[in-house]
Symmetry: C2
Subunit: 198 residues, 2 copies
């Protein structure tokens, strides 16, 4: 399996993190994002959405970090990280939607503005981030993990851009339960980091 | 099972549409969104995110249309609409992420501005919608259905806000393959409509 990867992308890190947790062997092909390789003809034949990560496994080509997490967990990691039982799977799925939407338009976008000078509405991204962090923090006041009472791919999908929020100049120090959860994720066996995450 | 529902919400319609396709019996509780019932204490105990739809099934409470689709399909509709095989499930999942993100920040937002006078960046929503529709249209030039070579919950997740895009003053007439697909969905057995969709 090959991951088309960008070291500084939180979305790519979602996949690298899960692969490490689940002891999956990935090969990596670095995409030269800052020279727009993701918009090249050859890359867009792989992913017309012009985004990383992309996973290939034999003839299979998958885009979208959340879909890649579902694939890897379902195919190679068994029941633990992506439950097959309906109510548990849907519990995880709620957080995959958050990872696809609120996380992108909150802490990811704030970081894109502050770290990579992307032209976007910082005030909106900052406000979205605090709305999101309050909701997650409240949830974690009575839950050890995001879903299904155990670490799942929801952790891999949500952790990266929360742990990188400080690179978007977002102060998370008031979210005590969120910070305790960040530390619990960091203490999971085979946790790996990325640049920007201590 | 009870769906906390808003007739004019495309996100609620995703669930109503799937329940009809799969012959699932839902009861409905209308949420008085326009009088902010979704921000009431009692509703926010059910869903702290203050959004519809919400599904209850016994003691289970689920938010997020995509998570509800996964739950209903997994629990009550068998293999057809939400494949359990990894590569097919991930194929569908790619579109559930699109439904959670690009669809919300494209045609849903354009409609919120034009139909419901929500204060948001219409030009951005319009541009996002055309970017999205081009990608879907290209995909459908060589695919009958969005994923897994058959109608799945991806259709239920994507169809509503594409079919409602005209209410956001978005002209889809140039997207031929997309329009053919809209018609294919409308011809599926047990298709139901909602206000704004012919």
């Amino acid at each position: 399996m090959k991951l088309y990867d960008l070291e500084l992308s939180g979305n790519c890190y979602k996949v690298r993190l899960f692969a490490s947790f689940a002891n999956l062997a990935l090969s990596f092909e670095a995409v030269d994002f800052f020279n727009a390789e993701h918009k090249s003809t050859s890359f867009m034949q792989l992913n017309p959405w012009a985004e990383v990560p992309v996973l290939t496994d034999g003839t299979l080509v998958l885009r979208d970090a959340q879909a890649i997490l579902v694939y890897l967990a379902n195919k190679y990691a068994g029941e633990a990280w992506w439950p097959s039982e309906a109510h548990l799977q849907a519990d995880v799925m709620q957080w995959l939607s958050v990872a696809a939407n609120e996380l992108q338009h909150g802490p990811n976008k704030a970081r894109l503005v502050k770290k990579f000078n992307v032209d976007s509405d910082y005030k909106l991204a900052e406000s979205n981030t605090h709305t999101l962090c309050k909701l997650i923090n409240n949830h974690l006041q009575t839950n050890t993990w995001l879903a299904a009472n155990r670490p799942t791919i929801a952790e891999c999908a949500i952790f990266p851009y929360i742990a990188l929020a400080h690179e978007g100049n977002i102060d998370l120090s008031n979210y005590e339960s969120l910070n305790l959860w960040l530390n619990r994720v960091k203490q999971l066996p085979n946790f790996i980091s990325m640049p920007g995450i201590k």
